[in-house]
């Protein structure tokens, strides 16, 4: 039924056989992001001083924390896309929501992998079922489930509606991951902003080593804003092309 209702849109799109040109804004944003990531690397690896207790592995932190906030940005886009799709039923919002999940999940994996690698020399283990780590793992698995379940629903309208609701509800796992170190005193995960939990291991003071605050703020700006926005824009373009090809296939089959 939904495929039938989409037919006018598909017919209209059959003439759009060429890839739409890359917008100037996206070109500029991509160049700025690549240069900014390189600058962020310089700030993290050269500009910031070395932590005397942890050694150079502490520099992983400049990617670990910002990548979490990058995922947060992308998952907020999923919420916005989901809410707007349910309100308007406009496909562009569903595309935004999907892009947010895919990019957010990748950045969540960066967060989990870098955290695990940092933990090995500092906590003497790759992984522990600490409240913060567990909630971060649940968050990543929830968004992985979004992609799997979404692909498993045949009816396009039902799939988009389900994905919108799932994407809105899934943000609770992100908020839980953010807040859990404030409400669970038994976590060993350190907090950077504000006081660390009592049992935290591997803490460091921002002011103790020169350049740490500047390197953190620079990479936070890059990984929490520039990287997810740029990648989501590219992912949206890819999805638009996917939709156009699907429409073309339908049009060819109808002939």
């Amino acid at each position: 039924m939904s495929a039938v209702s989409n037919m006018p849109r598909m017919s209209a799109e059959t003439s759009q056989t060429k890839t739409r040109p890359i917008p100037l804004g996206l070109k500029i944003l991509t160049i700025v992001t690549v240069l900014a990531v390189a600058f962020g690397l310089y700030m993290a690896l050269i500009y910031a001083g070395t932590d005397t207790l942890q050694g150079v592995v502490q520099r992983i932190f400049y990617f670990h924390m910002p990548s979490f906030f990058g995922a947060f940005t992308a998952f907020i886009a999923t919420v916005i896309g989901g809410v707007q799709y349910l309100r308007t039923r406009n496909l562009k919002w569903d595309t935004l929501a999907l892009a947010g999940v895919e990019i957010g999940l990748a950045l969540s994996l960066v967060n989990l992998a870098t955290g695990s690698i940092w933990a090995r020399p500092i906590w003497n283990t790759w992984w522990t079922w600490d409240p913060r780590l567990t909630s971060a793992a649940i968050m990543a698995l929830t968004y992985a489930a979004y992609l799997m379940l979404r692909n498993g629903i045949e009816n396009p309208e039902q799939r988009r509606r389900f994905a919108a609701i799932f994407g809105i509800l899934a943000i609770t796992t992100v908020i839980a991951t953010l807040l859990i170190i404030r409400i669970r005193p038994d976590t060993i995960h350190p907090a950077v902003i504000g006081a660390s939990p009592q049992n935290a291991q591997g803490t460091f003071e921002l002011a103790a080593t020169p350049g740490v605050t500047a390197a953190l703020l620079t990479n936070l700006l890059i990984w929490a804003l520039l990287v997810p926005i740029t990648l989501m824009w590219w992912r949206i373009r890819l999805q638009n092309l996917t939709d156009r090809v699907e429409a073309l296939k339908m049009a060819v089959l109808d002939r």
Binding site: A113, I117, W234
Partner: protein, 55 residues
Amino acid sequence: MMPENATPDTMSYLILGLAAVTVIVGALVASMLLRYRSLRRDIETLREIQPDAFE
């Protein structure tokens, strides 16, 4: 002998961490590129099968 409060050598973990970031972000970008190329091939195939659908 190293003094007890010497900064530990954790360089290998930093390299591993940077490699992980590169692999994950690289895999995401590569996956988008491959999907884009696959779609372009689909368009070309459709064009060969039914050229008048593109007029």
